[in-house]
Amino acid sequence: MKQIALVTILAAAAIALPLIIGENPYMTGILISVLMMAALSSAWNILGGYAGQYSFGHAAYFGAGAYTTLILLTNYSTLNPLICMAAGIIVASLIALITGTIVFRLRGHYFGLASIAVAEIVRLSVLNFEFTGGAQGILLSDISLWGLDLNSKNPFYYGMLLVLAVTLGITAYLRTSKTGYYLMAIREDQDAASSLGINLSFYKNKSLVISAALTSVLGSLYGLYIRFIDTSAVLDLRLSIEIILTAIIGGVGTLWGPVVGALLLVPLAEMLRSNLLGDALVKAGLVSDTSAFGIFLKENLAHAHVLVYGIITVLCILYLPKGVLGLFRRTK
């Protein structure tokens, strides 16, 4: 009961937020990033957190969604964006199924390695094909959907919120269903799981496809939102890593961990990127503006957010192995 009340309040707050902050593209942009990373990390969590299969290449599915949608729309401008999104789901699911069918037969950590390889293959292919725009990327001039003002960021805020809600809903449902129990059993002990009647590769594939499909929807939405994509924006290894780190820092294998991770990390990354942190250190008198270290910070902190994520992750693994959420959870 308390849970339901809490979720209702959270949802209401999330829905009201754009109305409260008003027409503030900068703030809305950050909020969209938070929602998107929370949803991406939640989608990854279904596979990585529940089934215990760490994918280091989720950018491939994000990119599949973004590229499929934008390629279709630049060629057939009258297509409904939702249909393009569905096409993206199909492409991402196919990549997932091919990867899973080959790799999940093998025992051990092959999936982690293969996921990186597949993501690199997708990235290099996109970079070298003509119809994908190659290194130039793809620019989308104009889109329309149900007469919404798509130059405003609010529709995308609500779009991301909706996908996040759906992802969390699927996760919550899975946790109490046969599939969810099977995924957790696979994570805990594969021999025990298969001796109890669990078809390992079927359930791993199932969670991979669910995860990839949700990730591709987010890619499509992002493509429509940003309207310019290239491989470094949607297919980069860095994105895959950020997705994992967000989950680890928030709490892998928990419903809300990825959301907590995104709430902490995305604003932190933004502060680093806009050099707020460097400026703050200078203002606080901790570092001098003109010292070599101050200049070094100014020049490099903006690019360092993945490094900072990495350091936080190491600290998390050492001191908070169950993520930030683990702090609030008493062990049985």
Partner: protein, 242 residues
């Protein structure tokens, strides 16, 4: 009574040049309890692994319920009705005791509610209801063995393979497990029972198969086996935990 619920014929398992099981044949009738004994390294666990699809036999055949199952996966074997426990227990550590058993129950139902009901029944059988919400990883070894048993019972197997389910337990714990096995046998279970404790084996088994260095050394009733000179020489007299 069905003859030959399980039939293993001329089964061999090679690991490279190491022959772990060599030309072993035996059968299990419905409602029988068959003991599988032999010194350490005799190939008992390997035989279970071959029967349950964890690795295929190199030569020979495994027939369960009139079906040849040589090439089936472990999960398929389980769903056909042959399920095993692990000598080295394999609890799903971060799940609760109840959830562990529910995972087993999901092979007979898709509904979580139903799985929970079945799981509670099995926990009652082994006397673990008080621990239902504890995390499985935190249990002491004696209770982990009981959890193994409850979890495999929840799959409602026609044939139960127990790999040293009393291994590492003290006398009282062993007796509790044996009592549980007697209860489930009264309900018509068929069991293959790997065990080193001869008193446990002879008190509970209808028939005993003896393995030694991967080969079948003898087969017979408990009296026949305890009086068999070969067995006494190879196994009972060998200074092993008897």
């Amino acid at each position: 009574m069905i003859k030959d619920l399980l039939r293993v014929s001329h089964a061999s398992k090679h690991f490279g040049g190491n022959v772990a099981v060599h030309d072993v044949s035996f059968a299990v009738d419905e409602k029988e309890i068959v003991g599988l004994i032999g010194p350490n390294g005799a190939g008992k666990t390997t035989l279970f692994n071959c029967m349950t699809g964890f690795f295929p036999v190199t030569l020979g055949e495994v027939i369960f319920d009139t079906k040849k199952i040589n090439d089936l996966r472990p999960d398929e074997v389980c769903r056909l009705g042959m399920a095993r426990t692990w000598q080295r227990v394999k609890p799903l550590g971060s799940l609760s005791v109840l959830e562990n058993v529910m995972v087993g129950a999901f092979s007979v139902t898709n509904k979580p509610r139903q799985a929970e009901v079945i799981a509670m029944e099995e926990l009652t059988k082994v006397g673990l209801t008080d621990y239902a919400s504890k995390s499985a990883g935190s249990l002491p070894i004696g209770l982990k063995k009981k959890l193994e048993l409850a979890r495999v019972l929840a799959t409602h197997p026609k044939l139960l393979l127990l790999d040293e389910i009393c291994g590492g337990l003290n006398h009282t714990e062993t007796d509790t497990i044996l009592d549980i096995i007697r209860t489930i046998r009264q309900r018509g279970a068929t069991i293959v029972f790997i065990e080193h404790d001869m008193k446990a084996v002879t008190s509970i088994c209808d028939r005993i198969v003896v393995l030694n260095s991967g080969e079948k050394l003898a087969e017979g009733t408990p009296e026949e086996i305890t009086n068999n000179p070969d067995v006494i020489a190879a196994y009972l007299g060998g200074g092993h935990h008897a």
